[in-house]
Symmetry: C2
Subunit: 113 residues, 2 copies
Amino acid sequence: MRDLIKVFKALSDPNRIRILKMLEAGPLCVCEITEVLELAPSTVSKHLSLLRDVNFILDKKDGKWVYYELNKTDGAQFIAELLPLIRKWLPEDEVILSDRQKVKIVERNSCTV
Amino acid sequence: MRDLIKVFKALSDPNRIRILKMLEAGPLCVCEITEVLELAPSTVSKHLSLLRDVNFILDKKDGKWVYYELNKTDGAQFIAELLPLIRKWLPEDEVILSDRQKVKIVERNSCTV
DNA sequence: ACCTCATTTCGTCATATGTCGAAACTTAGA
DNA sequence: TCTAAGTTTCGACATATGACGAAATGAGGT
């Protein structure tokens, strides 16, 4: 029960949904996500560690950078089944679409926030 | 997005999950649910109206009593797809099993709380 | 009309949550 | 080793949430 509640709580914040939808397109580092969401780095970091705690995402260190990506391993049953539903239920959300565009631009820039 | 967040928030409380699992066995009136959860009637009423607001459940008045049941109409896509997942992910939760037993007893009693 | 009982609404309270800025930590490079 | 830049941790704050009791509402029965 506890774990199930944690899973639904993790999905109960629009910024965390935005992060998951961004990661559907591929891994991103914290600073890229921060630029798109326009939140403080500490806030984004907290969202990311929460999403990691429920096994939705994984982190990979690469030098100074920490990349996050969707967890597609066997230990990620919850998000594996929920993401398709979210995909269906958020068909053309303006914010999500806008984030998708922003990610492409941010990726090309240097990451000095 | 707003609606999706409301759906996940509705599922982010153990007492509301317990209510949904109890209603899987059939309609219940507020006082029956109140006895099983051992919460104040006002608290249960609040949970129920929240679940109704996201179209998870429907209410039917019958004299003094208000019965709640799972919404199985076409307007209940969210819960229709999520309940099977919850059923799979909460295989043998002690609280849920205990609630199921309590419901059977409470149903036979008079409902004067 | 009045009374009773189930339910809801309201006000209040303690705790949880999302946010930020400052400081600490980590790694790469000079 | 020192500096710079990305990330995380910590402390503080405002708001959201879940709980209660008291009072209001609604529907039957006397």
